[in-house]
């Protein structure tokens, strides 16, 4: 009588094969899990998925929309990944995006006649400074008194969103806007140029450029090296004479500034005005994207497109009466399976055949 038992054995080095396979399997399992829910609600999952796929990646319009959603995801993910690299858990990208959008909007709303070559750089700089300062607000207590940045960055999100709401419902509301919570439209000079005549805007190049820059910083730069050391062991960094406080302030500021850039790109490239609800939670999804990409800037670009597609797919099925939350559910499920699957990159599953006589003892 033989019996099989399982045993998990720790691997000495993480398996490189698993690093690639696990995200793939995780996506499949997430689709399966989502499928179960769809069946339970009386839908045919295959129909729903194919609709999602076709509408997000199967047409020129779908692809465009996917990219439109992917750009702010790319920017905010790159932003948080910089902070995550130093183990600063900045989950306030959403708020930093809003503050960036707000500050960027201020320029065209107060000085609408500025020429584009002053307007656009001005908006970009204002957006980045506002996002950066919003993040810096949490970095200062973190650096001085070790106040947990997870709580403070998260809470400031609500403040930022409500602040923008206050502006668009109040002082910045367009007097000719039939009482909608939107600001006046920006002048043409305040709009980021599009790719051809599509809705994909120049923000894409911000993201591509930043990804390359961050990849170089992480891998080859002196500053990237010190961020890496501080993130890995703060005590070792202090011992090596690195200035930890200054780096906390700097990294948090830059992390927020990149999210602020995302906010600027949204109002300038897509919406053309400031309004209520400019982000459907890009700043939160960014955390998932950055994590799934293992903080690799190039991977962030790819995963952002995938998550952009999921979002567009979600909107697409909404037309058919299926809640768009399908997309959110799939996002969550993918993260869940990837995190769970990480055990296989670090452990090896072993099958052990036990002989009957040994068992009986």
């Amino acid at each position: 009588m033989n019996r099989l038992t399982f045993k998990l054995e720790k691997r000495l080095t993480p398996s490189p094969v698993m690093v690639f396979i696990i995200p793939l399997i995780s996506v499949l399992l997430a689709l399966l899990l989502g499928g179960i829910f769809l069946v339970l609600t009386g839908e045919n999952p295959l129909d729903v998925y194919s609709l999602m796929f076709v509408d997000s990646l199967g047409s020129k319009y779908g692809l465009t929309e996917t990219m439109v959603k992917a750009i702010p995801l790319m920017l905010t993910s790159l932003g948080v990944s910089l902070a995550f690299k130093m183990k600063l858990w900045n989950i306030g990208a959403e708020g930093q995006l809003y503050m960036g959008a707000m500050a960027a909007s201020w320029l065209p709303l107060t000085m609408p006649s500025l020429p584009a070559y002053i307007m656009l750089p001005g908006m970009l700089i204002l957006g980045m400074i506002a996002g950066g300062l919003w993040a810096l607000l949490t970095a200062i207590p973190r650096a001085i008194w070790k106040v947990n940045e997870i709580i403070t960055t998260l809470m400031l999100n609500y403040v930022a969103i409500l602040w923008v709401d206050y502006l668009v419902y109040g002082p910045w509301k367009d007097p000719n806007g039939s009482n909608f919570p939107i600001s006046a439209s920006f002048s043409e000079a305040a709009r980021l140029p599009g790719l051809g005549d599509s809705r994909i805007h120049a923000g894409l190049f911000f993201a591509l450029g930043l990804a390359v820059l961050l990849a170089v910083v992480f891998k080859y730069s002196r500053w990237g090296y010190s961020i890496n050391v501080i993130g890995s062991s703060e005590r070792a960094a202090r011992y090596a004479g690195m200035n930890i406080k200054r780096n906390i302030l700097l990294v948090m500021f830059l992390s927020g500034a990149i999210s602020g850039m995302a906010g600027m790109a949204e109002v300038s490239g897509i919406i053309g005005k400031l309004q209520h609800g400019i982000s459907p939670g890009y700043g939160y999804t960014a955390i998932i994207v950055a994590w799934l990409s293992k903080l690799n800037p190039v991977a962030i670009l790819i995963v952002s497109v995938l998550f952009g597609a999921l979002q567009v797919g979600g909107y697409a099925v909404q037309v058919e009466g299926i809640p768009a939350a399908v997309a959110t559910m799939l996002q969550g499920a993918i993260l869940f399976f990837v995190l769970g699957g990480e055990i296989f990159t670090n452990y090896r599953l072993k099958l052990i055949r036990q002989k009957g006589e040994e068992l009986s003892k």
Binding site: E9, K10, R11, L12, T13, V216, Y220, S221, R222, W223, Y225, S226, N228, V229, S232, S233, R235, A236, R238, Y239, A240, G241, M242, N243
Partner: protein, 515 residues
């Protein structure tokens, strides 16, 4: 035939990448003190953890009184009368001694009247000479007393076999002697005492029998009359080891480091250095002896700029360096090998290339204004790893997988290669095996030859007497003794470590080390 109390047969225990125990046999008899001797990583702690029910062996049998037992948890082992006292005590600090002893006991002990309980413990204490104050809170006790509480706890639970994991590592020589007397009494009362150690003098002093392990395998067993240092080393290392080093006897130079009435606070904001004054000269090793926790770590941190100096001066070649930034002090030529190799001295998740430039990455040698010079970084690591004989499979592998000895070599390689004026090292050989200890010591002596001033902080008196030119003693944040090594006396230094003002005033040996 006289049957052994405990028999281990063919114990195999695997960890990823390591065979910690490879088919090990062990017999333990009642009434004996049995030493388990081996270098670090030879598998002695693993073997004892198997016996104490902490690890499940991958193969092999445990026989207690001839009957096979399978331990699923330490509780099973305790039921069989096997108790282990770990190196790091498992006591609840805010609880009283009596509460700690009865903690985790099932049954009616919770309701047992205080009187009855105390009577039982006192009886045990009297039997073995282990006296403790049952009403004291554990945090008030000295290390030696805490250890006694652990031992009484095991005896109280009916342990017939008492396993002690490196029990003297935290004790002063006096406390260690007292412990040995107690163990002797227990053995003569019929208990079996198993002592895990890598110190030969302890085995010579107390063991009735010694089992030697080498690289996870059984290397040999020696009876009382066969025990001698030479034979044990041969079994442990597989070769002979130098017991003395050739020391460079050229005269020392001028004062490099001077501490002048330095006061500093510990992490809890309490004074840890009180008017500390000392000096180290060029080409001199000052060995600072002391039981850890008397301000040694804080002193090293104060010198390297990691802790604030509240008052007093620290002079490096006559320049006041107190409260300068760590980086400035590094750049002035102060190297520091901290006790916490992995996590402070080295970054666990980074590879050897990155770790070897930790303190110099910002200098023109390794980086420009923005980018690191990857070729220089690579060359640096290759040279150092080769020169210092660090055993490492890849320079790109994170260093956390390295053994203690190789970590220390890597750390020393980096610190020594900066050609420091002053080197501060704390417990450089702690946890290292004989071979690695020897190479670490030789590196320090080599550095001395190159005229570096070395402040060697250690608890290991052997190490200090082997290496130092001068011996200092630190107690409660003060320098309580300072002798040239030729005039230093082991006994006297040991007594000063416990805080007695002078060797002539014999302290009551039962008094706790910390006042």
């Amino acid at each position: 035939m006289n049957q052994s109390l405990i028999q281990l047969r063919g114990i195999v225990k695997k960890f990823p990448g390591v065979l910690a125990n490879d088919n090990v046999d062990l017999d333990i008899n009642p009434g004996e003190i049995h030493a388990i001797l081996g270098e670090n990583g030879s598998g002695k702690s693993t073997l004892m953890s198997v016996l104490a029910g902490l690890y499940k062996p991958d193969a092999g049998k445990i026989l207690v009184n001839g009957a096979e037992e399978k331990f699923r948890s330490p509780r099973d082992a305790i039921v069989c009368g096997i108790g282990m006292v770990h190196q790091h005590f498992k006591l609840v600090e805010p609880f009283t001694v009596a509460e700690n002893i009865t903690l985790g006991e099932k049954g009616n002990s919770f309701f047992l009247s205080n009187k009855e309980l105390k009577a039982r413990i006192n009886e045990l204490g009297k039997k073995y000479g282990l006296e403790i104050n049952l009403n004291a809170k554990v945090w008030q006790l000295s290390v030696g007393e805490k250890q006694r509480v652990e031992i009484v706890r095991m005896l109280y639970r009916g342990s017939k076999v008492l396993i002690l994991d490196e029990p003297t590592a935290v004790l002063t020589p006096q406390e260690a002697n007292e412990l040995f007397e107690n163990l002797r009494r227990m053995a003569s009362a019929g208990c079996a005492v198993v002592l895990i150690t890598h110190k030969l003098n302890e085995v010579e002093a107390i063991a009735d029998r010694v089992t030697v392990l080498r690289q996870g395998k059984f290397a040999g067993v020696l009876e009382r009359d066969q025990i001698n240092a030479k034979e044990m080393v041969r079994l442990m290392v597989g070769r002979a080891v130098a017991s003395k080093y050739d020391r460079d006897s050229s005269p020392v130079g001028g004062v490099v480091l001077q501490l002048d009435k330095v006061n500093a606070l510990n992490d809890m904001g309490l004074p840890c250095l009180r008017e500390m004054s000392l000096c180290v000269r060029e080409g001199e090793i000052l060995g600072l002896a002391g039981v850890s926790g008397n301000g040694q770590r804080e002193m090293a941190e104060v010198i390297s700029g990691l802790r604030r100096v509240e008052s007093g001066k620290i002079l490096l070649n006559d320049r006041n360096i107190s409260n300068l930034s760590p980086r400035t002090i590094i750049d002035l030529g102060v190297a520091y090998v901290p006790e916490d190799r992995l996590g402070m001295g080295l970054v666990p998740d980074l590879n050897a290339l990155e770790n070897l430039i930790l303190k110099k990455y910002h200098q023109p040698e390794f980086s420009g204004r923005w980018l690191l010079k990857s070729q220089a970084v690579e060359r640096n690591a290759e040279t150092l790893v080769k020169q210092y004989q660090v055993k490492i499979s890849s320079l790109h592998q994170s260093v956390k997988v390295l053994s203690g000895g190789n970590l220390q070599k890597l750390l020393l390689a980096r610190e020594i290669s900066s050609s420091p004026k002053l080197m501060v090292v704390i417990y450089p050989a702690r946890g290292l095996d004989i071979g690695a200890t020897e190479s670490v010591h030789k590196l320090l002596l080599e550095l001395k030859k190159r005229k570096t001033a070395i402040l060697l902080i250690s608890e290991d008196l052997d190490e200090i007497f082997k290496l130092a030119d001068r011996v200092g003693v630190v107690f409660d944040g003060k320098l309580t003794g300072d002798f040239p090594v030729e005039q230093a006396d082991l006994e006297e230094v040991g007594l000063l470590m416990t805080g007695s003002c002078s060797a002539r005033e014999r302290v009551n040996e039962n008094e706790p080390a910390h006042i």
